[in-house]
Symmetry: C2
């Protein structure tokens, strides 16, 4: 832990030196997906952002417990308490069990995350699997007087809480702001005040996902799960809570209120938020119906996509921006990310061939000092609130050096080359989490090898033209022994490799 | 559904015609892994057996809801109620959160299942995520008088149940047998009778995995989860419950008792059990400490393994035996399975090249009748209690026909060839779930292509010997343009493909 990592804390609105609560260990909670549809590009961003942080903390030597939830219940539509449970709705439309929908999309989410090179979290708790823990949280909040029951549902009393503590410290809103913003909405219904939010909702008769409670057969309010599961797996106080910037209000604001109302103080030390992916300048999201899913990106199957983009291209595209900046979707930007990634990978492959050094007379030497500075510049970038674009730019600088070497315009010793390989590996693979795309590489190799087979067949063609039947037959037989089936057709020779 | 599927019902001890409770739909529950260690060969067997059934039911056109649980709590050691919770024990040893251990091994289990070609179940519920449902089950059993509380724990009253119903109908044991067998064990402790089993266990102070209940802070007895989760996701009555033969007693016997005691009648229509994997004639299992894990098999890293075996070899090895027979582990048997699988896959590849038919003068024709009989024989085998070894033997017969065709000793029309390809695909891939091992195939292709590059380099060598510098240089330049780097060394030419 010789590096000093600074991260931007949304709560203090400044970059702070990261100091874990327990020496050498980090507890980290990140809001995961609601599994009623495929993850889209907007979901890839927090996954990759906090994967970058997870990888960097592990690289620094911390033991990290990384918890990311699966929301399979209780997420209300339009962030309004009166909405219908999204998963139950989908299930009713499809006439299947909600958990079957949740499982299907959970599996697809996992596949997409693996493709994007995101390490699996240490624990991936399901909201539906922690109903008791959420009920317990609700009871504690009631016991402290910050919640009330109304017609079988339980609501958080924001007004009362705001008097004793302050509601809005994360988002910077005040209760008056919030009241103003919600003045035009429909009547408060069961709630005392419009700003109050549901901790437990009584289920309508047709509602499928329901659990018994002392208040009613129902389901927990959306904000409960993260507070209950974060506390269960990371303790009453833990280091980092992450998520998308759109979760600051109301979700994370409500989480803070729930923590303070139940245990008397805040649970989270550093709040971190990634900015949004935009499309045509607007946030990409389910509610705007302007999203492109990850499987659509990988397959190129969406009207806005000129073609498919590999998972690593998506990852590189996201890492090329700082996580606190917005990123606008465009085919041009993705294609430029693809080229940038290719440039890095080409340099990586070339570096392997330089591993034993290269001596070119009269050309300057790549010094160890250069590699050491490169390494420290990469660390400095990561330490400055995970400035991945800076890391990439330093690696591009290393690519230029590699190209100079390839052009025989510089020398390098084996020792320096090894050090350069190590820096490259540490930052490009271990920390940025990039991988060499072997699928594409296989295709390229096959194409190159296929061209060599054609060279041999041309030789055979020439032998035939020269009536050198012995050579022509020998070539055919040698190829056949290797598994190549050569056919002489009217249009020339064709071949297939039967392996 | 034109096929009549017969399956062996452990409950009736005979093969029965399978008739689903709801036309066109099948509900199927299979006991899944306890995630406190890597899955071993003994776990691969139920996974593959019920994957075969799942695939066949889907092929027949049923909509199947396949539920397989993850046991992440409550499985007591040595099947004795006084044992320590296995997962909590492991976690304490490793000084980490039990759910972190469970998540780690769940992820590894999923990886192994995907490698073995097992389709993911429709729902994969966690025992720890269904504590309330299990408590509800326990309460219902108490309400009907078949359970009693003792010192904060709740036990099933087997004696009382046996009087009203009969305990032991699945395993064929009687309560007297069971009492005789357990007479020598330690005292009954909190239980009225030795045969009683725990429905809820009060947690010891040091016990980490615990949930509140009206009886005590504790955890559910092992047998509860399957009854509670089967009912939740498949209903009070469902079609098939599967698992290993070692689960018949006590686990499935207790499940039946719990169902009858709580809802008044049995839940499951067909009970299916796969037989054991043996090693040196003894069941392979955790408790015997004689197991080889799946990752060890794939990597060849265990003293009993002569080398590694691919996941598909393991799958084929298991499918080559009927699921109700024992299978003895040996390197010879695995190597023979590997050869058999290779034979099938070679025939499959050869079939592709025969797709447009083949005419050989004076040789007999492969008739459509042969293909139709082959198809029906494969169906008959599957319909006879999933006789996968018979299906494989019929496919081997088809391999012989393919080889006759390859030897130009038979003719086939395109239409018949297509039909043969279709039968092969249906049974080998869709139903048996085999896949072509592309990893090995890539290596083989690379080797064949590499040999062609060497052919070209030999030509260059000869050109040099003949002082044909123009040709020698042209070959080198052509290869370089494709990405091949050719070096002339003292020992001859070497090459690398930089892609």
């Amino acid at each position: 832990m010789e590096q000093s990592l600074f991260i931007y804390n949304t709560l203090s609105r400044q970059k702070e030196l990261f100091r874990p609560l327990v020496e050498g260990r980090v507890g980290m909670y990140v809001c995961g997906p609601t599994v009623y549809g495929d993850a889209h590009l907007g979901h890839a961003r927090p996954a990759i952002t906090f994967d970058l942080l997870f990888r960097y903390l592990l690289h620094l030597g911390y033991k990290v417990r990384y918890v990311r939830n699966i929301t399979d219940v209780g997420h209300l539509e339009h962030d309004a308490d009166e909405g219908e449970d999204k998963i139950a709705k989908k299930a009713r439309l499809e006439q299947i069990e909600p958990m079957e929908v949740a499982q299907y999309y959970t599996n697809r989410f996992h596949d997409a995350m693996a493709a994007l090179g995101c390490l699996p979290p240490s624990i991936e708790p399901h909201a539906s699997g922690h109903i008791m823990e959420q009920q317990q949280l609700v009871q504690e909040i009631m016991d402290h007087g910050y919640a009330y029951e109304s017609n079988g549902s339980v609501y958080f009393d924001v007004e009362k809480y705001d008097k004793d503590h302050r509601y809005g410290i994360l988002s910077g809103r005040t209760l008056d702001n919030i009241k103003d913003a919600s003045r035009e909405l429909a009547g408060v219904g069961e709630k005392r005040n419009q700003a109050d939010f549901a901790l437990w909702k009584k289920a309508q008769p047709e509602h499928i996902m329901r659990w018994p409670s002392k208040w009613s057969d129902g389901f927990p309010g959306w904000h409960c799960e993260c507070t209950a599961m974060g506390r269960k797996y990371l303790g009453e106080h833990f280091d980092i809570h992450g998520g998308g910037l759109d979760l600051v209000f109301p979700h994370h604001e409500c989480e803070i209120a729930q923590a303070v109302a139940s245990q008397g103080d805040q649970m989270v030390h550093y709040w971190m938020h990634n900015n949004m992916i935009t499309i045509d300048g607007k946030k990409m999201g389910k509610s705007y119906n302007n999203f492109i899913t990850l499987p659509q990106f990988f397959a190129g199957e969406h009207e806005r996509l000129e073609r498919g983009y590999s998972p690593m291209t998506i990852r590189f595209f996201i890492l090329q921006a700082h996580y606190r900046s917005t990123v606008d979707f465009s085919n041009e930007a993705l294609q430029s990310a693809e080229k940038g990634l290719q440039r890095l990978m080409d340099a990586w492959k070339a570096l392997q061939r330089l591993a034993e050094g290269q001596k070119v007379k009269g050309q300057p030497q790549v010094e160890m000092k250069y590699v050491e500075e490169l390494r420290q510049k990469c660390y400095d970038a990561m330490n400055d609130d995970l400035a991945s674009p800076m890391v990439i730019s330093h690696l591009f600088d290393a690519c230029r050096v590699v190209n100079t070497l390839l052009d025989k315009k510089a020398s390098i010793t084996a020792e320096v080359a090894q050090a350069l390989i190590q820096v490259f590996h540490t930052f490009a693979f271990d920390i940025l989490g990039l991988t060499v795309d072997t699928g594409a590489s296989n295709k390229e190799r096959e194409a190159a090898f296929g061209a060599v087979v054609n060279m041999v067949l041309e030789q055979r063609q020439q032998a035939k033209a020269e009536k050198n039947w012995a050579l022509s037959d020998k070539i055919r037989d040698d190829l056949a022994a290797l598994g190549f089936e050569v056919k002489d057709t009217k249009d020339g020779q064709t071949w297939t490799l039967n392996k």
